[in-house]
């Protein structure tokens, strides 16, 4: 039995890897565009999840870090003519620095105050990019950001740029998985569950909250840095509050505090948006309804643990439990599948 299971697991694992690798050869270019945006959103949703999901802070302004990363990349490449590969890390670090700036004043805040403050910072960062015309091009944005060369191979176009996204997304999963299963990740989760107890055990709350913000912002910056050469053009309209809310919705729909959650959320959200494209603007109504429905039916998200601080289902009052039969069993088929692929 064990052996068959092992074989199954390996088949699943390497099958998925092969599939991901060969995807551009199989599917059409228009689908690859969707896949690319899914991969891009996955990194940023995962980054947001590592802030909101693991240390239980309420960052609603992830778009700001996304913005910082993208503009840093665009400026480094276009103004300073630095290669994409070299500029990638500074973009992330720049965003992490912005993350630190945001994290410092939010240390004492919680709940909606923190949400509002992060939103405020996000908008201010966007507005700086919008108004600092000499550096960021203002409303004109930055044009002509070239896709990088990879050992002489051009990576422009969705089916080629996809590999950059794929590798980065995998790298993100790899790093985050390792971090959350270490002392750092456990400290984050301890803060999420009970900050007083965490303090009594010697976890420096402030330090780890800042670290957490910087980690999330770093990956958000990387996601932004990847976006710039992919779109070849950026302006501040990519990083509005609504974009931040979209990303947040993806994380919530998938399930905060799990690695697989944001992935599932992004896929569902993007498939919904793309699948309902024929309905025109109606598809956004679909998204809005999906968000509300998720909060009603499964506030911990598709793959989130029902036994988590984030679920809040312990407090759903008995009077309105009509829909509780719809709650999925905890590990859930989707989650099981994803877990078996990941590990």
């Amino acid at each position: 039995m064990m052996e068959i299971n092992m074989i199954k697991k390996y088949l699943l694992k390497y099958g998925t890897a092969m599939l991901l690798f060969l995807l551009p050869l199989i599917v059409s270019k228009s689908i690859m565009t969707v896949v690319c945006s899914i991969a891009g959103y996955f990194i940023i949703a995962g980054a947001l999840n590592s802030i909101n999901g693991y240390s239980g802070q309420m960052c609603f302004g992830i778009a700001g870090f996304y913005c910082v990363g993208a503009y840093t990349m665009a400026i480094l490449m276009n103004t300073f003519h630095i290669s994409f590969w070299i500029a990638l890390l500074p973009s992330g670090i720049m965003a992490a620095f912005a993350g630190m700036l945001v994290a410092l004043p939010t240390l004492k805040l919680r709940g909606m105050f923190m949400a509002m403050l992060t939103i405020g910072f996000s908008e201010v960062m966007r507005m700086i990019c919008l108004n600092w015309t000499s550096v960021t091009g203002g409303t004109m944005g930055i044009k002509g950001i070239k896709a990088p060369l990879f050992f002489g191979i051009k990576t422009s176009g969705a089916s080629r740029y996809y590999y950059i996204y794929l590798v980065t997304a995998l790298l993100f999963i790899f790093c985050t998985n390792r971090v959350i299963h270490s002392r750092i990740g456990r400290a984050w989760m301890a803060i999420r569950e009970d900050d007083m107890a965490a303090r009594s055990l010697g976890v420096s709350i402030n330090l780890y909250k800042i670290l957490n913000f910087m980690y999330g912002a770093f990956w958000a910056g990387i996601a932004g840095a990847l976006l710039a050469p992919y779109k070849t053009y950026i302006d501040s309209s990519y990083f509005t509050l609504d974009e931040g809310f979209n990303i947040l919705s993806m994380v919530i729909i998938g399930g905060q505090g799990t690695l697989a959650g944001p992935m599932v959320g992004v896929v569902i959200y993007q498939l919904l948006v793309e699948g309902l494209r024929f309905t025109g603007v109606w598809r956004y109504i679909g998204c809005a309804v999906l968000i509300i429905a998720m909060m009603w039916l499964r506030p911990q998200g598709m793959v989130g643990d029902s036994d988590s601080v984030l679920a809040g289902n312990k407090t759903v009052r008995t009077g309105s439990n009509l829909l509780s039969n719809l709650h999925w069993k905890t590990p859930g088929p989707i989650r099981k599948l994803i877990i078996s692929v990941l590990y």
Partner: protein
């Protein structure tokens, strides 16, 4: 300064607005003590613990750990210096396993950084091994091995108390502060807790505890202070406390009616 004194409070005072919750309390806990802090409800016992562990700032006075001033330091720094505590209303990480709870207790004894975690360096491997070993060792000591993988929040009350103590032990503290460890336990659980605390003491841990269960305190502690309305009204051995008129008055009132009735 006598090095035998582990934790010392000198005229520690805490005010909440007009109310003086703890007023000029002196306390000396020696190495190897099981030290009891008792008093009626609202006497300021938990406040006093919170002052010792940095959750409240002192308005006056000082706290010393092994002669080193730790007054008003942040609670995580105090934990680093060697004071671990439990809480009156259990503060476990409810949605984590027992072993994970204890792993977080090992936080200050490890030093993995993000870089270590990502690249699985030697530091990381050593730390993880240490965490696992200490975790299992402590679970073995407290006899909770069978619960190691269950969610802390799902355990019975008495076990949760023990897990909280086990988590505090993982900090490798010099002194352990237990806030009402026997609250809400039935007599059997209380008895097992008492022998557990005595066992910890015999292993070399210094323990200070707040407790309402007099039998528990009298049978486990070797020294006791009594607080009432934020002031220390008595200090001594369990025997002395039992026989103190002051303490009886604090708990039962002055008993004018009773004494009159008796003398008549």
């Amino acid at each position: 300064m006598d090095t035998k004194i582990l934790l010392e409070a000198r005229s520690a005072t805490k005010k909440f607005g007009g109310l003086t919750a703890v007023n000029a309390v002196d306390m000396q806990i020696n190495k190897g003590d099981i030290f009891g802090i008792i008093g009626p409800n609202g006497a300021g016992k938990t406040t006093f613990f919170n002052m010792c562990t940095g959750f409240y700032t002192l308005d006056k006075g000082n706290i010393f750990l092994e002669g080193q001033d730790i007054t008003n330091q942040p609670s995580d720094v105090i934990a680093h210096k060697g004071i671990a505590r439990t809480f009156q209303n259990i503060k476990l990480f409810k949605y984590m396993t027992v072993l994970d709870n204890i792993s977080i207790g090992s936080h200050i004894n490890t030093k993995t950084s993000i870089i270590d975690a990502v690249f699985h360096t030697d530091t990381y491997k050593k730390d993880e091994e240490y965490i696992k070993e200490t975790g299992m060792e402590i679970l073995h000591q407290v006899g909770l091995e069978k619960y190691s993988d269950s969610l802390a929040g799902n355990l019975p009350y008495g076990v949760q108390r023990k897990v909280e103590i086990a988590r505090a032990l993982a900090v490798k503290p010099k002194i352990l502060l237990l806030d009402e460890p026997a609250a809400g336990m039935n007599p059997i659980e209380t008895d097992s807790l008492m022998s557990f605390i005595k066992m910890l003491n015999s292993m070399g841990y210094t323990i200070a505890l707040i407790e309402h269960d007099m039998k528990f305190v009298m049978n486990s502690c070797n020294r006791i202070i009594v607080l009432n309305f934020g002031e220390k009204i008595f200090e001594g051995t369990p025997e002395e406390v039992k026989n103190s008129v002051l303490v009886q008055e604090a708990y039962f009132g002055k008993g004018i009616a009773v004494s009159r009735g008796l003398s008549a």
